[in-house]
Amino acid sequence: MTRVPVVVGVGLTPFAANRVDASIRDLVAEAVLACMEDAGLLDLKAVQHGLASYESDHFNRQMTLGAILHDALGLTPLPNVRVEGGGATGALALRTAWAYVQSGLCESILVYGGEMNGRSVSSATANGLFALSADADWEMMVGGTYTAFYAAMMRAHMQRYGTTEAQCAHVAVRNRRNARLNSFAQKPMDLTIDDVLRSKPVAEPYKLLDCSLLSDGAAAVLLATEDWARAHGTRFRERPPVYYCATGCGTDTMRLGDRYPEITNFRGKRAAAQAAYAMAGIGEPLLEIDVAELYDSYSGVEIQAVEDLGFVPAGQGGAAVASGIFDADGYLPVNTSGGLLGRGAPVGATGIAQAVEIVQQLWGELPAGRQVANARRGLTDTHAGIGTICVVNIFERRD
């Protein structure tokens, strides 16, 4: 019997700018309860392992949050582990859980994560805190913030390939439009390209509407061997089985200035994608993947991602995006959830929430307009920093 993990259940909270009604514990509990219900799991203690996913002690104003959440969920004395990988935390958490199941360490594992990135601190403080995850000695001290790094990368992309601000704006418009069909999304909007181009400059070429959101939210996914899922998830037999079939990870230098030969793209993402494709047996991703959630921390990042993930050749991302090929009614719909731009980005939950969208797509449980017809294989792309840690996870429906 294969040990490739199946997805037993998924759960989410709505993503919001400011969940004044809830603490991080409440949010994670909300997502886990939703996940249990989704799985038809009657006894949470039947799960064999916990895995906490959150990025920042500062934002959550709590150290050892993994232990706190594990306790709050009533999971003691089960084993637990906390995973952190910057923006890629949620995806890296799933990847770790994948290895725990594959290794035989446990038959089932609950991956839960969340973050209070919303208005718990001011935007300026938030930027400062995020800058702490750059090289504090060599980058932060000279005023390096992530928005500036991303802007420099996109500017290089524009110079080399002729990518335009309007092409970036297409991503901002589409993902926020997709969010309109997602009741859990933070920023559903009906924008035009001009709205984006005319919004307030932040770090050229990026304007306010090119930038993703700071959010409060949580997400959970229950992974298990197929045997365990059949025995414990009462809803498992009702649905087509979805396997978490492949995972890849790649890294890059911390400092943008250390990158060679260029800063137009994400080398770590190419490595992550290649590893995941080799594991999944994928040769031509544009043809073999039906739906994807991409890490659109800034609009242009999605353009860089479709190139690094091999959907289109390098340099063609801007034109490809603008052609509508990745729109909801396109050839390979991406960010049907709304992405980081439309749904939101509570860091520790982001990668897990991307997986939730893909799994629901593969189950075929999303509302019309958002559901991709006959989706059988889906991908999530998540990264930390400026592509410093990249994780690509692939899910597949096998029925």
């Binding site: 002729g162 092409q167 544009l286 289109v312 063609q316 034109a319």
Partner: protein, 233 residues
């Protein structure tokens, strides 16, 4: 191939061939639109040829299904329905699959190298959205040659004849409708899959990728045709 000592009438067939090729290119390139009546006198004048080679050329185009000659009414560029197109692609799929099945016993290195080169060239097009339309004619030429070469891999001359006839109809319709940019990206990805299979000498992968490509190309073409002028060009 002509033998040095063989006697063949030269003048007329050659002029007819030139006329045929020019008209064919005009039709495939969309300069002559489906349904358009051909002004015979004007063409004669423009090309500076007499009626006979023009007639021969038009007859050849009619055999290929590119023009329809209606006595006393005139000669028209053929109109295709989505149904015609679907049929074209079904024939293409059947022929290409059969050709590739036998092709892998041949292992023609020169042909493989040429195909690899063609696919690499097609993959290098369309890097810029602003200029992609300028590259479309060249791309389609490469595409057509690549598909014919794949048929040639079978070494079956009759199959090639049948194929060229069936292929042209689908070709012109697709061309006349004009691909969208995203169509070309999909086509390129599908071609890359075929090229990878060729490179790996993976027969099963080649059959699957070629079939997938034609099926999807057919769907795209039918879809584009249906979007234009309420179903007919």
């Amino acid at each position: 191939m002509l033998h040095a000592n063989s006697l063949t009438p030269i003048q007329l067939p050659n002029v007819a061939t030139v006329v045929y090729e020019q008209l064919r290119r005009q039709i495939l390139g969309g300069a002559l639109r489906p349904g358009q009546q051909l002004n015979i006198r004007q063409i004669e004048a423009q090309l500076g040829v007499s009626r006979t080679p023009l007639k021969l050329a038009l007859e050849r185009l009619q055999v290929e299904g590119l023009v329809s000659i209606h006595p006393r009414k005139g000669t028209f560029v053929t109109i295709f329905s989505p149904h015609d197109l679907r049929e074209c692609f079904e024939v293409r799929i059947a022929l290409e699959a059969q050709a590739l099945r036998s092709a892998f016993d041949v292992q023609n290195r020169a042909l493989l190298a040429e195909l690899t080169d063609l696919f690499a060239r097609m993959d290098s097009y369309f890097r810029n959205e602003a200029t992609w339309l300028d590259e479309l004619v060249e791309f389609m030429d490469c595409d057509r040659v690549a598909h014919v070469r794949m048929i040639e891999m079978s070494g079956n001359a009759r199959m090639k004849e049948i194929y060229e006839h069936a292929n042209v109809q689908g070709y012109i319709a697709v061309f006349g409708m004009r691909f969208s940019y995203s169509d070309t990206l999909q086509t390129q990805a599908e071609h890359r899959a075929i090229a990878a299979a060729l490179h790996a000498h993976d027969r099963d992968a080649l059959l699957v990728s070629a079939r997938t490509h034609l099926e999807r190309a057919g769907l795209r073409a039918v879809q584009r045709l249906s979007q234009h002028n309420g179903g007919e060009l």
